[in-house]
């Protein structure tokens, strides 16, 4: 029986087993491949999406847990791809291989929603679950601060 989930504002019927991780439902059933698989055990954060606005690791979230709820993926973070974080990511030239960056941005977006002016310690805590094997961490930090400043200045 299909599972109703609203993904990026669009209601969808996901015809997948209840226990299938939301990650695979998003990637293969809904066809949105911006959300990445990298560990499968909630260790790396590459699969981070928002469930009713809260960041979750889609690789360990059963699709049934999203029944009737709102899922936001990197594709839906901003209609034009111009969320302050996305702009800051370009300005700071953050990504290298880029594979982890959807998850990084989704974790950072949840942080900024909760704390509009995060400190370095806030960033450390909120981003602790996201691995970047290319080691772009200092640029991620700079971009989060920049996005926070943009949001504050209303220049988005």
């Amino acid at each position: 029986m299909a599972i109703p989930v609203t993904i990026n504002g669009r209601q969808q019927q996901l015809d997948v087993p209840n226990e299938m991780p939301l990650l695979w439902a998003i990637r293969e059933a809904a066809g949105l491949t911006g959300t990445k698989y990298a560990c499968g055990v909630a260790q790396c954060g590459a699969c981070t999406v928002h469930l009713d606005g809260q960041p979750v690791r889609a690789c360990v979230t059963p699709t049934s847990a999203a029944r009737g709820r709102r899922v936001t993926t990197i594709e839906g973070l901003d209609a034009k791809g111009e969320h302050p974080l996305q702009k800051a990511w370009v300005e700071e030239q953050v990504p290298q291989c880029g594979y982890c960056q959807s998850g990084q941005i989704m974790s950072a977006a949840a942080l900024l929603a909760a704390k509009p002016s995060p400190t370095d310690a806030d960033i450390d805590a909120a981003m602790a679950g996201n691995i970047c094997r290319c080691g772009t961490y200092q640029r991620i930090r700079a971009a989060i601060h920049k996005a926070a400043a943009m949001k504050k200045a209303g220049t988005r």
């Binding site: 949105l32 260790q43 291989c97 880029g98 602790a128």
Partner: protein, 715 residues
């Protein structure tokens, strides 16, 4: 200068029909006579074409694995072409070694930080030839001497008459001209893009909004997804398997034996994985079943007492060591390491009766094309390779296994198949950075100056294991960074004892230099401290014949404030190394928590890569290289028990995270020399800079990696 990448964004998105929505790297067919004659397209060589609208399409042969190749390549070609940066589109080259092989190695394979350094001259000529032809076309059009013409981005100008023609207006005429073989290149002061700041990477926008397509994201109509159960012991084989329960899992379509194990093929990944869990396989575990890390260390130690092949021999080190003066000795060990690319291994293949299409995040398009041809039994020209974006490479993605998986599975089930590795597959079935065992001896004079350096390495040879160097010779990968250390010592002997247990080994970011810089730069530090001298000054005094080493060492020391006071509980360490054409020196600033936990606060890196083509990406590679190296130094360890890798995922093979990551400051030292590499040279000096700092702080010498915090714990 127009640095707006929006046009390129469009270019990156085009041609996506076969693969569904999202970014598809443009794919171009080999240039042939027909392409040459396409009306309205000026295509003087395989690297660029210009249409009547002035759009310049550049073909990039170097896979984009995070190093910025997709932007550095067009920067170089566009500079000599004098192209308008806003009119650049980029396409990824197909596998076709005749057109796109690296001109130095002769292979269409990418490792060894060879992107810019091996192609710079060829790409400059490709752009310059086209620019010269456009000028000739304009000279004919206006009937003026070519010498009166100049170019600005995208336009030929005749200043005496004030006339201008856009490149797009000249394509038909230029297409009729012969291609100059030795076009005049720009002088350094004429560069518009090369070496300039402020150029945005063309691949970044799609990496921030989910449109970027990696191998994992490839979609092909009718595609099935496979997961392969592999023998937990290296070299083991399938004895028998029972697929009854696996086939009963909803969505599972096929269960087939392939070279690397048993493939469970399903309509989706989750079903394939569930099927794999239900699969029962009996393995013939083979000869490595009893192997343990402890046994490897023990045998290495035993073999370190045997003479090895002599990799470097100057003066007579053994005689100097036996002369009765002071001798310093040490043993260093490094473990196996896995690459842990963020994107697990994967490939998608469609094997048809007389052709193959391969969509693959590959560092080795040419090699993978040949491999697929052999496995599928089709001529190599009938294998089309689409190189997607790579979610990390680090040397892992040149190996054959994931392509073998996809081609064999597709062939077996007669459908397009994407084989997806789990993280566990990735960690446990890698091609590991070799574990080695090293014995050092040095004779020092009354002033503490070294008069003899003796180093014996025990370990396997990557090139020998892969059949790319003959058994019984010295494997260059095993001794790089050890035999060519830069210190001016009268008696030097470096030996290599080959011992290969059969654990698969491979090229891990900076290869032999990653470990040999750690051990040599640690041991020279030991000599400095034994002499009671400052480790920076001690190195300086021995670098009289190595001016480029000395220059980066000085720059890093100066940038880090070497010798200036630090807060209590902190210390600095320094190290320098040459690798992959570049010179790098690092200063690390560290502290140690009471529980022995190491904190690296700051890293200052000085890099001499010759001409720095893309400065912002020089910095990116130094930042990333430092984190990669720190992860290995602090946590990296693959161990074996019963022939099996004991680690499986990021909980037991941890990666450095944001809170632990130091600030990395990069100083680019402009030597004006030929270009060197960047992906790898930022790695080797990092571990010894950290462990040397730890010695300065605690008096404890770290001789085994990863750093054992118990050694640093304060009682």
């Amino acid at each position: 200068m127009n640095r707006n990448p929006k046009i390129t964004r469009r270019a990156l998105l085009k041609g996506g029909a076969a693969l569904g929505a999202g970014l598809v790297i443009g794919f171009r067919l080999p240039l042939d006579a027909a392409a040459q004659q396409t009306p309205g397209v000026f295509a003087p060589n395989q690297w660029l074409k210009i249409d009547r609208d002035g759009v310049v399409t550049i073909t990039n042969s170097v896979p984009e694995m995070g190093q910025g190749a997709m932007t550095a390549t067009p920067m170089i070609i566009a500079d000599e072409l004098d192209a308008d940066w806003g009119k650049i589109r980029i396409e990824q080259a197909p596998a076709n070694p005749k057109l796109y092989a690296n001109p130095v190695t002769g292979n269409q394979a990418y490792g060894g930080s060879r992107g810019v350094r091996d192609h710079l001259e060829m790409w400059r000529k490709a752009g310059a030839a086209a620019r010269q032809m456009l000028k000739q076309a304009a000279a004919q059009e206006w009937n003026v001497p070519e010498s009166e013409l100049e170019t600005e981005p995208g336009v030929v100008i005749h200043r005496p008459s004030g006339r201008r023609l856009m490149y797009g207006q000249l394509v038909d005429k230029a297409s009729q001209l012969p291609v100059p073989q030795n076009p005049v290149l720009k002088t350094k002061d004429q560069f518009r893009y090369i070496g300039k700041e402020g150029i945005a990477r063309l691949d970044i926008p799609v990496k921030t909004d989910g449109r970027a397509v990696y191998g994992m994201d490839v979609k092909v109509p009718g595609m099935l997804i496979a997961s392969i159960e592999r023998c937990p012991v290296f070299g083991g084989k399938v004895q028998s398997f029972d697929a009854t329960a696996a086939k009963a899992v909803a969505g599972v379509r096929h269960v087939v034996q392939v070279s690397n194990g048993v493939a469970v093929v399903a309509t989706n990944f989750w079903s394939a994985l569930q099927g794999r869990r239900a699969l029962k396989v009996t393995w013939d575990e083979g000869a490595l079943a009893p192997l343990t890390s402890a046994a490897i260390s023990k045998q290495y130690e035993a073999m370190s007492r045997q003479a090895g092949q002599v990799a470097r021999n100057e003066g007579n080190a053994e005689q100097a060591l036996g002369a009765g003066g002071k001798v310093v000795e040490a043993v260093y060990q490094v473990p196996f390491l896995e690459h842990a690319c963020m994107e697990p291994m994967n490939a998608t293949a469609h094997v048809m009766p007389d052709s193959v299409t391969l969509w693959v995040p590959t560092q080795n398009p040419g090699g993978h094309q040949a491999l697929a041809a052999k496995l599928a039994g089709v001529p190599v020209e009938r294998v089309e390779v689409v190189t997607t974006l790579l979610g990390g490479g680090f040397g892992r993605r040149g190996e054959p296994d994931f392509v073998t998986d996809a081609v064999e599975t597709s062939k077996a089930v007669n459908a397009p198949v994407k084989v997806i590795w789990t993280r566990e597959d990735d960690i446990q079935h890698g091609f590991y950075r070799p574990a080695t065992y090293n014995v050092f001896k040095a004779a020092v004079d009354a002033n503490g100056q070294p008069v003899a350096w003796w180093h014996r390495i025990v370990g396997p040879g990557i090139l020998i294991q892969k059949g790319r160097a003959p058994k019984g010779t010295i494997d260059p990968a095993a001794v790089e960074g050890a035999r060519n250390h830069p210190y001016d010592i009268p008696n030097i002997r470096v030996e290599w004892v080959e011992k290969d247990f059969g654990v698969p080994i491979g090229f891990w970011r900076s290869v032999g230099s990653s470990q040999n810089a750690f051990i040599t730069e640690s041991f020279i530090d030991e000599l400095a401290h034994a002499a009671g001298k400052d480790p920076y000054e001690y190195r300086r005094a021995l670098l009289g014949k190595a001016p480029r080493h000395l220059a980066v060492l000085d720059a890093a020391a100066k940038g880090a404030g070497w010798g200036t006071p630090l807060p209590a509980g902190r210390a600095r360490g320094i190290a320098v190394a040459f690798s992959y054409g570049s010179y790098a020196a690092h200063v690390a600033e560290v502290s140690v928590a009471p529980d022995g936990g190491v904190r690296v606060h700051r890293i200052v890196c000085a890099i001499d890569c010759g001409i720095a083509v893309y400065p912002n990406q020089v910095r990116s590679q130094m930042e990333g290289g430092a984190i990669y190296a720190l992860t290995a130094a602090l946590y990296g360890k693959i161990t074996l028990d019963k022939g099996r890798v004991q680690q499986s995922n990021f909980h037991d093979y941890p990666m450095m995270r944001i809170a632990e990551a130091p600030k990395v400051e990069t100083i680019i030292v402009d030597s004006g020399q030929a270009p060197g590499g960047l992906g790898e040279p930022g790695v080797p000096p990092v571990a010894p800079a950290v462990t040397n700092a730890l010695f300065a702080l605690t008096g404890k010498r770290i001789r085994t990696l990863p750093i054992d915090r118990d050694l640093l714990k304060r009682a």
